[in-house]
C-alpha cells in the first residue's frame, strides 16, 4: 500500500479542492461531459448518506437503490405528465391497454407536490422500514440482508407493474422540467449548478451533524449499542433518524440523477446497483464525506470508461474491487492519507 500519510495535513483542503473543480467544470467541460459529471455528483449525494449510516452508524444498507428509485420515479412521473397534452395518458400505458391514469399518478402533475414527494416519501419509507427492524433490536448482518430483500422486492414490483411503471424499460423521453426545456443547453448547466449546490449543502449539513452530539451518539451506538442503552439512551431513534436522512439524500440524488440521465429504470435501482452504491463509498472511504464523493466520481468514471468498451470486464473488475478494498483498504482511499494515530 503506498504510504500517503504525508498528505494528511492537506486533508482539510480536499473539500475546497473539490468545490473549486466543481465550480470550474462548467467552463472547462463539454456539455456531454458536464452532464456525465452531474450524474456522478447526484450519485455522490447518495454516497454521503452511506457515510452517515454505514461509516458512522455501522448500518449497512444494501437497498439504497430503493430510495434512489423513489426520488427518481417521483420526478419522472412529473415530467411524463408535464409533457402530456391534457386528457391523454403516457404512451406505454396505452400500449399496455390502460385507458386512464392510475390515481396516484395524478398529483404528480403539480411541481410542488413532486418536490415534496421527492423529499418526504423516501424519508418516510426509510424511517418506517428501519424503525420496524431496529426497534426490535435487529441489526447488523440481519438488517443488511433485509435491505437487500427490499431492493429485490421493489425492483421486481416495478418490473411486473409494466402498465403503470413502464416496467423493465422504466420511464424515459422527458422534454421539460418545471417549464424548462431539457434540450436547451441553459437547462443542462442550470441543473448542474443545482446539483452542485445540493451536494454542497448536504456535505456541510452532514459534516455538522457528524460533529454534533447526534454524531457522537451514532458512533457510540455503532461501537456498543448496549453500552449506549446502559448509559440511559435509546439507540433506536439515532439509527432511524440517520437512516431516514440517508434515504432522503438517496431520494434527492435519484431525482437529480433522473433529470441528468433522462431515464429511470429498475436496472438502475435493483439489487446489483444498490450494492454497487456501497462500493463507491467503500473505495472512497466509509468514514469520510469527501472520500465518498471522490469514490462515487472515480468508480462511475471507471465504470463508464470500462463498461462501454468491455461490459463483461466491468463485473470482474467490480467484484475484484470489492474484495480488494474491503480486505486490504477498509478505510478506502481516505485511509491512505490518514496519518496513523500516535
Amino acid at each position: 500500500m503506498p504510504d500517503l500519510s504525508r498528505l494528511d495535513p492537506l486533508k482539510p483542503f480536499l473539500p475546497w479542492l473539490l468545490l473549486a473543480l466543481g465550480l470550474v467544470a462548467p467552463f472547462a467541460l463539454s456539455a456531454y461531459d458536464l452532464n456525465l459529471l452531474a450524474r456522478f455528483m447526484a450519485m455522490g449525494i447518495l454516497a454521503l448518506g452511506l457515510v452517515l449510516i454505514w461509516g458512522h452508524g455501522g448500518i449497512l444498507s444494501l437497498g439504497q437503490g430503493v430510495f434512489f428509485g423513489l426520488g427518481g420515479y417521483a420526478i419522472a412521473l412529473h415530467m411524463k405528465l408535464a409533457d402530456l397534452p391534457s386528457g391523454e395518458i403516457p404512451d406505454f400505458m396505452v400500449w399496455s391497454g390502460r385507458d386512464s391514469l392510475p390515481f396516484w399518478w395524478t398529483p404528480f402533475s403539480s411541481p410542488a407536490f413532486t418536490i415534496a414527494a421527492i423529499l418526504i416519501v423516501p424519508t418516510l419509507v426509510g424511517a418506517l422500514f428501519s424503525w420496524a427492524v431496529f426497534h426490535r433490536r435487529v441489526g447488523g448482518t440481519y438488517f443488511a440482508l433485509i435491505t437487500q430483500a427490499l431492493a429485490l422486492a421493489f425492483s421486481t414490483l416495478i418490473i411486473s407493474r409494466q402498465d403503470v411503471t413502464g416496467g423493465f424499460n422504466g420511464l424515459t423521453d422527458f422534454y421539460s422540467v418545471f417549464g424548462f426545456g431539457l434540450a436547451s443547453p441553459g437547462t443542462g448547466s442550470g441543473l448542474y449548478w443545482v446539483t452542485l449546490a445540493v451536494l454542497c449543502v448536504a456535505f456541510v449539513a452532514l459534516r455538522w451533524l457528524l460533529a454534533s452530539r447526534f454524531g457522537i451518539l451514532l458512533r457510540a451506538a455503532r461501537d456498543g449499542e448496549n453500552r449506549v442503552r446502559f448509559l440511559g439512551y435509546s439507540p433506536t431513534p439515532f439509527k432511524v433518524v440517520a437512516f431516514a436522512i440517508a434515504a432522503m439524500l438517496a431520494g434527492v440524488g435519484g431525482a437529480l440523477f433522473t433529470l441528468h440521465a433522462g431515464v429511470v429504470s429498475p436496472a438502475l435501482i435493483g439489487v446489483v446497483p444498490s450494492i454497487e452504491m456501497v462500493v463507491w463509498v467503500a473505495i472512497g472511504g466509509r468514514y469520510s464525506l469527501a472520500g465518498a464523493i471522490v469514490g462515487a466520481l472515480l468508480v462511475n468514471l471507471a465504470r463508464d470508461a470500462v463498461s462501454s468498451a468491455f461490459p463483461e470486464l466491468w463485473l470482474y473488475l467490480m467484484g475484484a474491487l470489492f474484495i480488494f478494498v474491503v480486505t486490504l483498504l477498509p478505510r478506502g482511499l481516505a485511509g491512505l492519507v490518514k496519518r496513523k494515530a500516535a
Binding site: 454505514w54 455501522g58 449497512l60 444494501l62 422500514f129 420496524a132 427492524v133 426490535r136 433490536r137 435487529v138 447488523g140 448482518t141 440481519y142 443488511a144 440482508l145 433485509i146 437487500q148 430483500a149 427490499l150 429485490l152 422486492a153 421493489f154 421486481t156 414490483l157 418490473i159 411486473s160 407493474r161 456498543g224 449499542e225 448496549n226 453500552r227 439489487v271 446489483v272 450494492i275 456501497v278 462500493v279 467503500a282 463483461e312 463485473l315 470482474y316 467490480m318 467484484g319 475484484a320 474491487l321 470489492f322 474484495i323 474491503v326 480486505t327 477498509p330
Partner: protein, 295 residues
C-alpha cells in the same frame, strides 16, 4: 379444499425444501462465525452446472444420482476455497464479509456467463423424474417429490451428524461459546472450515435440484438466495430447527400467497411477513441467550 389450494400447498413444500437446502449452510456458518457468505447463491449455480456436466458424461438416471455427490464435492471445495482465502481473514468484520463475498459472487456469475453463456443450459431429467402422480385430483410432479425427499434426507443426515458424531459435538461446543471451546483445545478454525464446506456442499446439492426444475443460468442462485437469507433472518441464530421451521413457513407463505397475487407482489408480501414476524419474535423462531454485552 380446492385443488388449487392443495396444489400450491404441495408447491410450497417443494419451495420450502429448496429454501431449506439453500439456507442450511448459511445458517450453520452464521451460527458459528456470525458471517454470511453472499456467494452462497453461486454454490447453487455451481451445483447446477456440475449436474449438467455430469449428465453430459453419464446420461440418464445414473447421471442424476452421480451428479449429487459431484455437485456436493465441487461446491464444498469452492466454499472451502472462499472460506480459507477470504472469509477467515475477515472473521471479526461481518459486514465487510458480506461485501467481499458479494465481490466473489459477481466474479463467479460473470465467470459462468463467459464459460457457459448467458442463456443457460438445460438438464434433461431422467424419465422417472419427469412423470407425475395424481392424488385427490392434485398433480404431484415427481421431480418436486424427489426434491422434498432429498431435503428430508439431508436434514436427517445433518441432524445425525450434529447430534451423534464427534464433529457435531465440536460444532455445538463452538456454537455455544467460541472462546471456551478454543481455550479447551478445540481447533475452532478447523470446525469453521469443515462446516463451511459442508454448508456449501449442501447448497451445491440444492443446485442439482434447481437443475431438475428449469434451466441453469449464471444467476439461477440469485432467485433463491434472497429468500434463503430471509429464512436465516427468521430462523434464529445457528439453529437447525429454527431454520427448518422458518424455511417451511416462508416456502408455504410464498406459494400460498401466489393463489391471490402474482409472484412479484408475493415477494413483497414475503418481506412484509418477515418484518411483521420480527415485531413478534425478534430473536427468530428459536432464541439463543447470550451473556456478552455486545454480541
Amino acid at each position: 379444499m380446492d385443488a388449487l389450494f392443495l396444489n400450491q400447498l404441495f408447491n410450497g413444500a417443494s419451495l420450502a425444501s429448496l429454501y431449506l437446502l439453500a439456507a442450511l449452510g448459511l445458517a450453520l456458518s452464521f451460527g458459528l462465525m456470525r458471517v454470511i457468505n453472499m456467494a452462497h447463491g453461486e454454490m447453487l449455480m455451481l451445483g447446477g452446472y456440475l449436474a449438467w456436466m455430469t449428465l453430459l458424461v453419464v446420461p440418464g438416471a445414473l447421471g442424476i444420482i452421480l451428479a449429487i455427490p459431484v455437485a456436493f464435492v465441487g461446491a464444498a471445495a469452492m466454499g472451502g476455497l472462499i472460506q480459507s482465502t477470504l472469509i477467515r481473514r475477515l472473521s471479526a468484520r461481518p459486514l465487510d464479509t458480506l461485501l467481499a463475498t458479494w465481490g466473489v459472487s459477481l466474479i463467479l456469475q460473470q465467470g459462468a456467463r463467459d464459460l457457459f453463456g448467458a442463456v443457460g443450459v438445460e438438464v434433461r431429467a431422467p424419465e422417472w423424474l419427469t412423470g407425475s402422480f395424481v392424488v385427490f385430483g392434485v398433480t404431484l410432479p415427481s421431480a418436486r417429490l424427489f426434491i422434498i425427499l432429498i431435503a428430508a434426507l439431508v436434514l436427517g443426515g445433518l441432524a445425525l451428524l450434529l447430534l451423534k458424531t464427534r464433529i457435531g459435538l465440536l460444532v455445538r461446543a463452538v456454537n455455544q461459546d467460541r472462546m471456551m471451546a478454543s481455550a479447551s483445545g478445540i481447533d475452532v478454525k478447523r470446525v469453521d472450515f469443515t462446516i463451511f464446506c459442508l454448508g456449501s456442499g449442501v447448497a451445491g446439492l440444492a443446485g442439482v435440484m434447481l437443475a431438475l426444475l428449469g434451466p441453469v443460468t449464471p444467476n439461477v442462485g440469485q432467485s433463491y438466495i434472497i429468500p434463503a437469507f430471509l429464512v436465516v433472518v427468521m430462523g434464529g441464530l445457528g439453529s437447525i430447527v429454527g431454520t427448518t421451521a422458518s424455511a417451511i413457513i416462508l416456502g408455504l407463505f410464498a406459494a400460498l400467497a401466489q393463489i391471490f397475487v402474482d409472484v412479484s407482489v408475493a415477494q413483497m408480501l414475503l418481506l412484509v411477513f418477515v418484518i411483521l414476524f420480527i415485531q413478534v419474535r425478534p430473536q427468530g423462531v428459536i432464541a439463543v441467550k447470550t451473556r456478552q454485552l455486545d454480541a
